[in-house]
């Protein structure tokens, strides 16, 4: 299976945590927590709550460590648990999740670019109009920072198909924002 060096390192750490090296979790936390924190902060829009859910996510990762299969990438496994913890938090707080991705979810670098395109509300609306499959790929790649291979594994499609979806999603987003500005889907 093809994997990025980062992913290889994460897999090795997770396998080593399963095997009995407790310290591996410190390294895993250092590598994975920022992405999870960004994901949670974007959704909850409350840093303190996001921090609580981040800790809950790592607690659940610890409890669910047996379910991680070293043959697969680590990040989709972590993000699925983080998403579950986020939904649990919403349920506990008696709130319903927002149906659409909002602008706060977007990675700072993307957000800076988005500011140049249009107001935040326009971006939110435009993202809402991108077909769901393409939006998932755009968000997973540009917001969560997952590789196309990892996205493919999570969505049950080939990495090349994930890249194509992301690319089409970005193109659609640009069209919706009414800009002819170029740029590759990196």
């Amino acid at each position: 299976m093809n994997a990025s060096p980062d992913d290889q390192a994460l897999r090795a750490l997770m396998a080593s945590y399963q095997a009995g090296r407790f310290e591996a979790f410190d390294e895993l936390y250092a590598l994975v927590a920022p992405a999870v924190r960004r994901f949670l902060t974007g959704r909850l829009r409350d840093e303190a709550r996001a921090e609580d859910v981040l800790q809950e996510t790592f607690l659940q990762m610890h409890r669910a460590r047996r379910s991680y299969d070293p043959a697969y990438p680590v990040l989709p496994w972590v993000m699925a648990i983080a998403r579950h913890c986020w939904l649990m938090e919403l349920r506990r707080a008696g709130r319903r999740p927002m149906s659409q991705l909002d602008v706060a979810d977007v990675h700072p670098s993307v957000r800076a670019e988005a500011d140049a395109y249009a107001a935040a509300a326009d971006l939110e609306r435009a993202l809402g109009q991108v077909p769901a499959g393409q939006r998932q790929a755009v968000v997973a790649h540009h917001v969560w920072g997952l590789s196309f291979h990892e996205i493919g594994a999570q969505l049950g499609i080939a990495g090349s198909a994930a890249k194509l979806r992301s690319s089409r999603g970005m193109r659609r987003l640009r069209e919706l924002l009414g800009s002819g500005r170029g740029g590759d889907d990196r």
């Binding site: 407790f22 920022p34 047996r66 379910s67 991680y68 993000m79 649990m88 920072g145």
Partner: protein, 221 residues
């Protein structure tokens, strides 16, 4: 990746994790885990015909229409449980299309088996339609319950992020296994009876699985 923010595992969390830390073995492949239910599938296949009797039209149906379809149902049940166990692994949950396919399998399979069997040996329920229906429904469901519980417990050993869906798949799988045996006893092939009572039992097992898996997951959190 770190962006200058705190990347140290908080001390309180670290202490909490260390308190119950032990090495673990990764769970085997979902299909391998689903094979744990193979003895149950075999038992369910022979239980009803052994306890009561084989259906009266066995000869007319022939081996393929009787035992053959039941074996197909049993195998489909094990595969459905494997699908449930894969669904229980974070990050490996089924997307919408395959999920719709998995949920269609029990209905489609029982439908095909029903109409094929009815074509070969049409036997209608003449008296006591409701009583016969209730007996087959209860029988299928009761036979499925041990498998449903086992599938839910196996799923809970992973970390189902959609526990109800996981339990539903597992329950439907166990239901198919149970009905595979029950249809070898019940000779009424009338589609109205089979699709309401027998398929009803399979679907009810799915609902029981969903409720149980959800309960188990809630207790774990």
């Amino acid at each position: 990746m770190t962006e200058g923010i705190d990347t140290h595992l908080p001390a309180a969390l670290r202490a909490r994790l260390a308190a119950d830390y032990a090495a673990v073995r990764p769970l085997p492949h979902p299909l391998a885990r689903a094979l744990v239910l193979a003895p149950f599938a075999l038992l369910a296949l022979v239980a009803a015909p052994w306890w009561f009797e084989l259906r009266v039209d066995m000869v007319r149906l022939g081996w393929a229409q009787a035992w053959g379809w039941s074996l197909v149902q049993s195998i489909a049940g094990v595969v459905l449980v494997a699908a449930a166990l894969r669904e229980a692994v974070p990050g490996r949950a089924w997307t919408r299309m395959p999920l719709a396919l998995w949920l269609t399998v029990p209905v489609a399979l029982v439908g095909v088996v029903t109409f094929t069997t009815y074509g070969a040996s049409p036997i209608a329920v003449r008296n006591g339609w409701a009583i016969v229906g209730a007996m087959c429904f209860a029988g299928s469901l009761a036979t499925a319950l041990p498998g449903t519980v086992l599938a839910a417990v196996l799923a809970a050993r992973a970390y189902p992020t959609r526990p109800a869906l996981t339990g539903l798949l597992g329950g439907l799988g166990a239901g198919l296994m149970a009905d595979a045996g029950w249809r070898l006893f019940c000779h009424f092939s009338e589609p109205a009876h089979v699709l309401s009572a027998h398929l009803g039992g399979v679907l009810a097992a799915g609902l029981c699985g969903a409720a149980l898996a959800r309960r188990l997951h809630t207790r774990r959190l």
